[in-house]
Amino acid sequence: MTELLNEQMELYLAGEMDDAGKMAFEQQLQTDEALAQQFSLYKNIQEEMMAARQHYEGEKKLKANLQSLSSQYFSGTETTPAKVVNMKRKWYYAAASIAAAVLMFIFLKPALFPVNNQEIYARYAIPESLSVQRGAVADSICTVAAGFYNNHQYAQAKPQLQQCLTAQPNKTEVQLAYSICLLELKEYNTALNTFKAISEGNSLLKQRAVWWMALTYLKQDLKGQAIEMLQSIPADAPDYEKAQQLLKEIR
């Protein structure tokens, strides 16, 4: 019930309800006080968080300016960021990196007379672009890494991706790209380990890592293990359809 309600609020706020649904929802808001309160909270929280992100760059620049004024007007102040009231902004770096980059994945291609596992692998395992956008701390390294990676120059991409990950270890999309590099460089065991680590986390890409584990097994002609992996991809995962398609082909 709550889930349905949240979805309705989301639809309404996104302006995506049809006229009848919108009228019914608005009427409900007028008569149901608890709903109205919940809706207002949902809306306010969302607006507040959006505003915070919109002004993040401005806030950062202002802080830098205030910091230098502080050192003029207060003696013995450090040039490090204010420590009294910790703003807990660590996640911002994660935010920048998340907003940064996500992998694009495989398009389904018609299953045309598969010759062998390698042929099927090549058809499904098309590493998609890694896009690095502005705003992240270690962007220059990551941009170079993405350049090699997107050009399928995996040997060159590998050390760069590694460096990019040192600077931003929590970027799941980069972890995934790095693992795909390992796979393409035939470092299967290491690749499996890194895919596994992603699949055990909570990222949105966790099921995608399972999909790549299946492909890693397939590439090594370990069909049984590939099938097992594909079967473990749940029906609500974004790659479910693709996994089912591949299952049909290799069974």
């Binding site: 889930e3 507040e48 915070a52 002004h55 205030l66 502080s70 007007y73 207060f74 994945f105 974004p238």
Partner: protein
């Protein structure tokens, strides 16, 4: 709408990051904040931090475009900073210390209300960020992408998952965040 006080120019200076006016703001107002903190067991560094955080709280409120200063800045800023410093002392000592020095400022109702508005806003932000950090990684990723000004279709495209899935997932994540916020001890004390 209330008429802005002439000191509203300093609020604009914060929003615009105007170096000349900001310098003036420090020159005119930082002294009394320093005095208040030093008199109440703080250091110069504490005073600098409190003053800066007070200004950031003000920036956060003003940058939403929903704030007009209707009283003089000095007493108003002093009230915000004093409150911040009292909270900080209590956090450090785990006690309920309070003090009522006003450094000669007369803090009237209007000043107090305006200051409270800014402080509440700042506390709400802090609470929201704290609860947001408690969400799972998947939720944080998705909400960040959507709050970053991207259309949900674009988010779906970036993640290469269906739009319907993204929307459903986002509403679930928002639902979790709302529940975490409501479950906080601070929730009732902050006006939403």
């Amino acid at each position: 709408m209330s008429t802005p006080h002439s000191d509203q120019q300093y609020i604009e200076a914060l929003v615009q990051n105007d170096p000349v006016l900001l310098n003036e703001l420090y020159r005119r107002y930082s002294g009394k904040i320093k005095g208040m903190v030093l008199k109440n067991s703080g250091t110069e560094q504490d005073a600098a931090d409190v003053f800066q955080e007070g200004l950031i709280a003000l920036y956060q409120k003003a940058s939403t475009g929903k704030f007009v200063l209707t009283c003089p800045l000095d007493a108003f800023l002093y009230t915000i900073c004093r409150n911040k410093w009292i909270n900080e002392i209590n956090k450090r000592k785990g006690t309920g210390v309070t003090f009522t020095d006003t450094e000669g400022y007369s803090i009237d109702d209007d000043t107090f209300k305006s200051a409270e508005q800014v402080m509440q806003h700042h506390q709400r932000r802090e609470l929201l960020e704290e609860k947001f950090a408690q969400l799972g990684e998947g939720c944080r990723e998705l909400l960040e992408l959507s709050w970053g000004g991207r259309a949900m279709e674009e988010v779906a495209g970036l993640l290469n998952i269906t739009y319907a899935y993204v929307r459903k997932k986002k509403s679930e994540c928002m639902g979790k965040l709302v529940e975490l916020v409501k479950g906080s001890a601070l929730f009732e004390t902050l006006k939403w």
